[in-house]
């Protein structure tokens, strides 16, 4: 159970998040929507520890993790698929996946087959350098790499960006599957509203560093949401 409570985040003097609160529970997908530059990525960075927050708290399993370094958070089961993929360019695809082993006990260090089933292209490219992959392939690798860590909170920043339609569908199925398994909380940033609506239990819409709307997809007024997403 993740709960973000009144978080502020600054880039230098510029503020990107103001008092944002949001939560995510196991077995559910929380989807974050918003126009460009409203602070979605910033919120995810705050959660995974990639950028320090200036106010508020981030609780995971009841403990405040907002002062923990990112690797400690990862060790508590938080995995991140960043926007822009952040593949290790000079590591091979296999090695990129193996970086996920750091949080696993020695016995559990293997790449589950279902990952290759989901992203068959990776299996054929295990020895290629991550940086050489095409954009969409890198995106797939980034998701796969996050899954290797067997996370309990999966934080996805626009995971469908640059991915071909058939695989987007697959990813949707996987997210649904993971959700159904019930042991993983999923926080998803998405621009692709239809995709979000299908998957999410909760939808939160951000604007100018704050959450301005949230609720179950059924409860929200679609027109209102769409308006908030346009200029």
């Amino acid at each position: 159970m993740l709960s973000v409570e009144g978080v502020d985040l600054h880039y230098g003097a510029a503020i990107a998040l103001r008092g944002v609160s949001i939560s995510a529970t196991a077995g559910a997908v929380t989807c974050l929507l918003g126009r460009n530059g409203v602070g979605k990525t910033s919120l995810l960075r705050a959660i995974v520890g990639a950028h320090p927050i200036t106010r508020g708290a981030i609780r995971w399993d009841g403990a405040d993790i907002s002062r923990l370094p990112p690797y400690e958070r990862a060790r508590r089961g938080i995995a991140w698929v960043p926007q822009g993929r952040d593949i290790f360019p000079l590591l091979t695809v296999r090695e990129n996946l193996e970086t996920g082993f750091a949080v696993l006990p020695r016995r559990a260090r293997r790449v589950p087959d279902e990952i290759y089933e989901l992203f068959p292209v990776l299996k054929t490219m295990l020895r290629r350098r991550g940086g050489d992959l095409s954009g969409g392939q890198q995106q797939q690798l980034a998701i796969a790499r996050a899954l290797v860590t067997k996370p309990r909170l999966l934080v996805l920043d626009e995971p469908t960006e640059g991915i071909q339609p058939s695989i987007i569908k697959d990813i949707g199925r996987v997210i649904a599957l993971l959700r159904r398994r019930g042991d993983m909380a999923i926080l998803l940033v998405e621009q692709y509203y239809d995709f979000a609506r299908e998957l999410a239990q909760t939808i939160a819409v951000m604007d100018r560093g704050d959450i301005v709307l949230s609720g179950a997809p059924g409860e929200l007024d679609e027109q209102d949401v769409r308006r908030r997403l346009s200029v």
């Binding site: 995974v48 520890g49 990639a50 370094p69 990112p70 690797y71 990862a74 060790r75 995995a79 991140w80 960043p82 952040d86 290790f88 360019p89 000079l90 590591l91 090695e95 193996e98 970086t99 996920g100 082993f101 750091a102 949080v103 350098r129 991550g130 940086g131 050489d132 790499r145 860590t149």
Partner: protein
């Protein structure tokens, strides 16, 4: 005048045939000469004593060579035993209280005479190795006076190898003998030619006053040997290149990690090497103080891990206190590590003083062996092996261990690596520590061939950077190949262009090479590399 008389007396001795001139009066002038203060006299005395056949000759000459021969004002000679007691040199009788004595000193001329003289005497030693060395010494210092002794030795020599060497020594001496027959001389030339090598060439080339046929044969032999030598020369240059390459490699591997893998422009790298060399020095000092002398040979193997740990710990400290604040600002690491290198240099100067420290080479590492015309010095051989070992160990760590994977991941994208759960501070510190530790190990090797002084590191830093860049940053193989290639080019150029010009040419070649391959010999290819 006195010297002249002495010489006359000695000449008398020399012309006296090889039969044992055991009469006491016979060796007296020789012994008197040994007690002279003039090195010429001593040398003559040594020569005379050596051929005198006197049973005490070997003991006296041995004592002289070992610095244990003493003279009294009245020209009486005494040998000091290992226990500090003296015996009369001429008689071997113990001398309870010899009075004020003065050590009989030797210079190069005397040393040569001793070598020759003792050589002849030791031809009959019970130990085959001693006999072989004796034959070699006689070969190097050919002396017709030794021919009879050689003849006798050859006749009684059981060991075939030693026998050949004695025959070679005899051949060398024959060529110096004024009244040798032409046939003997020709045979001698053939023997020398068959032996080959620089020394034989030297002997043949230096002949004078030979009958025409012999001179002709000698000249032919010299040119034949020259041909061989030239071929061997190439091999030798390649070997030198390899060994220079291994030194460069050792110096550069640490940098290949701190700079190549981590991207820190580590100006203090040289100082890590220096720390390793000083660690070796300290280990040797401690060995001398606390470890039985018999184990001294272990000082270097012990120094290797010590240097690794010392430099590694210093490296970790540097990373924690300094470098870690500078990730993402690679160029500023240059400034900070430059400051650090000043501090470390001065610290070593304060602690150990500005002058060189004496790190010596244990017996098992010194000397050389000959493979055909190729001379291989042991310390270089070990350094090559060591460099290869370090290289492979490091590759294994980087390629095969989880730590290696994490190191590479962290240096490629620190933020993402942390998000993957990798303890980046820990990995950073270990990586820098590893690079520094490896540099420290290089210091152990360098202490064997270079100064151990506060400036040691400075001499290698430029070369190290060049090697890393030449090979291609981030590629350990590249570093290895780069080091060897630079070494070999350097060593082939050096004899042709001279050391200075050779070095300049290497630098210019490097500059031109980088124009052809802007990312080194083994560049990282593909999209990943083009940032």
């Amino acid at each position: 005048m006195r010297a002249l008389l002495l010489v006359v007396a000695l000449l008398g001795l020399l012309v006296g045939p090889h039969g044992p001139a055991s009469a006491e009066g016979g060796v007296a002038p020789a012994l008197a000469a040994l007690s002279s203060r003039h090195y010429d006299d001593i040398a003559n005395g040594v020569a005379a004593l050596a051929v005198s056949g006197d049973p005490r000759a070997a003991a006296i000459l041995g004592a002289l060579q070992g610095g244990r021969l003493y003279a009294r004002a009245d020209h009486a000679l005494f040998i000091r035993g290992p226990d500090g007691t003296y015996v009369d040199a001429a008689t071997g009788a113990p001398a309870a209280d010899p009075g004020t004595l003065r050590e009989v000193r030797v210079n190069n001329a005397v040393r040569r005479a001793l070598d020759a003289g003792l050589g002849a005497l030791r031809l009959f030693a019970p130990d085959a190795a001693v006999r072989a060395t004796a034959a070699d010494t006689l070969f190097a210092q050919p002396d017709p006076a030794a021919i009879p002794a050689l003849d006798r030795a050859i006749a009684s020599e059981p060991d075939a190898g030693v026998k050949t060497r004695m025959e070679q020594a005899r051949a060398a001496a024959i060529l110096q003998k004024p009244d040798a027959s032409e046939a003997d001389r020709l045979a001698a030339v053939a023997t020398l030619r068959a032996r080959g090598g620089l020394e034989a060439r030297g002997l043949l080339e230096g002949l004078s006053g030979q009958p025409p046929a012999v001179a002709h044969a000698a000249a032919a032999a010299v040119s034949a040997l020259d041909f061989d030598l030239r071929l061997w020369n190439y091999a030798q240059s390649a070997w030198y290149g390899l060994s220079l390459g291994s030194v460069l490699l050792l110096a550069a591997t640490g940098l290949a990690i701190t700079f190549g893998v981590m991207g820190v422009i580590n100006m203090a790298h040289g100082e890590m090497v220096m720390l390793g060399a000083y660690a070796t020095y300290v280990v040797q000092v401690l060995f001398r103080a606390y470890v039985p002398p018999g184990l001294y040979g272990l000082s270097i193997p012990v120094a290797i891990p010590v240097a690794f740990v010392v430099a590694g710990i210093v490296g970790i400290a540097i990373e924690r206190l300094m470098i870690r604040f500078l990730y993402g600002r690679p160029l500023e690491t240059l400034l900070a590590t430059f400051g650090l290198s000043l501090i470390l240099q001065q610290a070593v100067r304060t602690i150990f003083g500005p002058t060189n420290r004496d790190v010596d080479t244990p017996a098992w590492m010194s000397g050389a062996t000959q493979i055909g015309g190729l001379q291989i010095t042991f310390n270089r051989l070990y350094i090559i092996l060591f460099a290869v070992g370090v290289l492979f160990a490091l590759m294994a760590v980087l390629r095969r261990t989880p730590l290696g994977l994490q190191m590479r991941a962290v240096t490629q994208n620190r933020r993402m690596a942390a998000a993957m759960g990798i303890r980046t501070p820990w990995v950073d510190a270990l990586t820098f520590g590893l690079g520094s530790g490896v540099a420290g190990m290089a210091g152990v090797a360098l202490s064997q061939i270079d100064n151990v002084s506060p400036n040691l590191g400075q001499g290698y830093i430029i070369d190290s950077f060049m090697v890393v860049v030449f090979g291609g940053v981030g590629n350990l193989w590249g570093t290895a190949v780069g080091a060897v290639v630079l070494g070999v080019i350097n060593k082939f150029l050096e004899p042709v262009a001279g050391a200075v010009l050779g070095k300049i040419v290497v630098l210019v070649l490097l500059i031109l090479f980088i124009q052809r391959r802007p990312r080194g010999m083994f560049p990282l290819k593909g999209r990943a590399a083009e940032a």
